[in-house]
Symmetry: C2
Amino acid sequence: MLGEVRRAACVAVGDELLAGDYPDSNSGAIALALSELGIVVERFVVLGDRKDDLERVFYDLCARYQLVVATGGIGPTLDDVTREAAAAAAGVPLERNEAVLASLRESYARRNRPMPESNERQAWFPRGAQVMANAIGTAPGFRVWIDGGTLCVLPGPPHEMKDMLRRELLPWLRSTCGQGPGIVRKTFYMLGLPESAFSDRAGAWMARGAVPLMGVTAHTGILKVTLLGKGESVEGAERLVSARAAEVRERFAEEIYSEDDPRPGAAVLRVLGERGLTLAVAESCTGGLVAELLTDVAGASRVFKSGWVTYANEAKTAALGVDAALIARCGAVSAEVAEAMALGARARCGADVAVSITGIAGPDGGSPEKPVGLVWFALATPSGVRSFEQRFPPVDRASIRRYAAHVALNLVRLHGR
Amino acid sequence: MLGEVRRAACVAVGDELLAGDYPDSNSGAIALALSELGIVVERFVVLGDRKDDLERVFYDLCARYQLVVATGGIGPTLDDVTREAAAAAAGVPLERNEAVLASLRESYARRNRPMPESNERQAWFPRGAQVMANAIGTAPGFRVWIDGGTLCVLPGPPHEMKDMLRRELLPWLRSTCGQGPGIVRKTFYMLGLPESAFSDRAGAWMARGAVPLMGVTAHTGILKVTLLGKGESVEGAERLVSARAAEVRERFAEEIYSEDDPRPGAAVLRVLGERGLTLAVAESCTGGLVAELLTDVAGASRVFKSGWVTYANEAKTAALGVDAALIARCGAVSAEVAEAMALGARARCGADVAVSITGIAGPDGGSPEKPVGLVWFALATPSGVRSFEQRFPPVDRASIRRYAAHVALNLVRLHGR
């Protein structure tokens, strides 16, 4: 009986996770999705592909939590033992599901490929389990009851897991245990504001007991601000969050670049695209990162025309026409050179707007006057060119480059607003 | 008594981990480091900042494992409760460590800042605990004995955790429980080989029971091949691995680009730098990613001269001199245009070598003749220009771009060898 599921645990299965090859990202995604149903995930466990360990942990967690969601270890190979462990924990044998087997065979036949014998394993489930279809891969998931709890097993590959979560598990949970206390979440992505300045301006909204609860995380210049509202019903929570969201939109109108897409490049393309403006980029210390963040977005070519990565001084002269004497006089990291780069890029490809970045990403190359972390930016538009500097904390090369790329994108976005 | 520690567990503490803000990467890094001492981590657990949960899990895990390594929750704020939970699990009170307190005050004094009252919390430890110094942040770690097991607590921020692990925990473990059975690991990074072709050529080395054990993971064209040798002693394991490593180097001489640095850009810069060659890049579908992967490496400017991101067709003409009629006749994704881009880039900045990339990253823009995933590459050198195409699986835009960038970098690397 799931009637009152409110507490849950996640289990991620795979030797490669324990070996440190990559971290478990599935459990976090599941916890986030379950939280919208009012289900609180209190624990993640990562285990290797060992049947005895899995069996014991499934059993123990089902005794403590009403819902346990496991991912991984249901592939076709012999080292995938999650189905065996689930059956053992439930005290039932594995049984072949003829309907699943037929559909596995059919999916191979459609692609004119013989089904490897090993794939038949994916048609075996603990007796009494409910199968969850896999619309993307070959391994179906399943739900099985272990004492007081329900164990739901999803595939390990994140895109298969997410698809099955959305199509199968969440609808089933919603129908079985209801929506629960309403939990509504709302996110804003902002640029152009240090975290401390955000906190000051947000004031009491950020208090620990505030309703709705506001959280903020900062990453190389991007703030992710989350509102979390809890109420007796979804509608109640929704009202709480909507009211505060409207205030946030007003107070941070300039800084918010998106409420759903964290990519600043997408915001720049949208803003310029709406006004029919085109863009060029001239990069030195960011080395192609700004262009990369823009072209990472499908359809970028409508706005983004051309980029230059003029890393060497001679390249600034040869490719963008920056006067070599100017570089010698002012240094490559200067207002003058940043402006010449932006003007050169704009002139060369006929874009409406051009942005340039030149700075010292480190770890070497700094001096007392021009320390690591100093970056000059310029923006060239039909009405002229302007430049400004920023000094980033000299944390590390990658962070300085990313900070600088975000500032450059924000400069363009604010121009386009 | 740690004398025979061979099995361990990791615990990561933090509400933000359970909320899915980011995955726990600390436990994997710790497991990898412990494996070199012959200690096998069998389980990771992620918990929120709740004292009762933590106390219970610390207690249970110390009963099952001789060593438990926890990270996070030892900061100065009230929601950091790991130290309280550890003391409760050990059945001892917290006590103030005067030496630690003095050194905390001193470190603030050195920076001419008053120590916030809340930081005094970081000088409290479970009675009988051994303190581990924090060379980077303010929160010291500690070791405490809970029944049969040892609980070691490290800070949550990964760079602080890694530093304390290396300076404090590993030396202590080595001195306390010895090296254990020798475990030696060796890694190779390869480009230019699909995973299946690698397996075929590796043959019996890849067998499940092979000694040393060989593992391979593939990611957008990069293969990470690991040799794992276990022996009675480190020397024995070292011999096993060295012998096989020499064979691997011979059989995959062309494909191995590094044995320590996974960044293909670093390999390209090293190879060209050794021969005194300079490089230019002309990118269309990769949109700056190749330049970004090169300039991500400090000191790139010795080799990397200039990059062009000619995303729009007009940009290919305006910036690189590609004949507009040629683009109209052959299409932007063609051998002819790839070659013209590489030749144009090479001529414009006087680099020795230029590589170009033009393809269809999708999700739109494909046709039956030129499907999503088709990419043309060209390499221009003093002896002329050559081009070739590759068809990548149309998984997603980001993967196709990354695949293509890695192929382009490998093309340059092989030229420079």
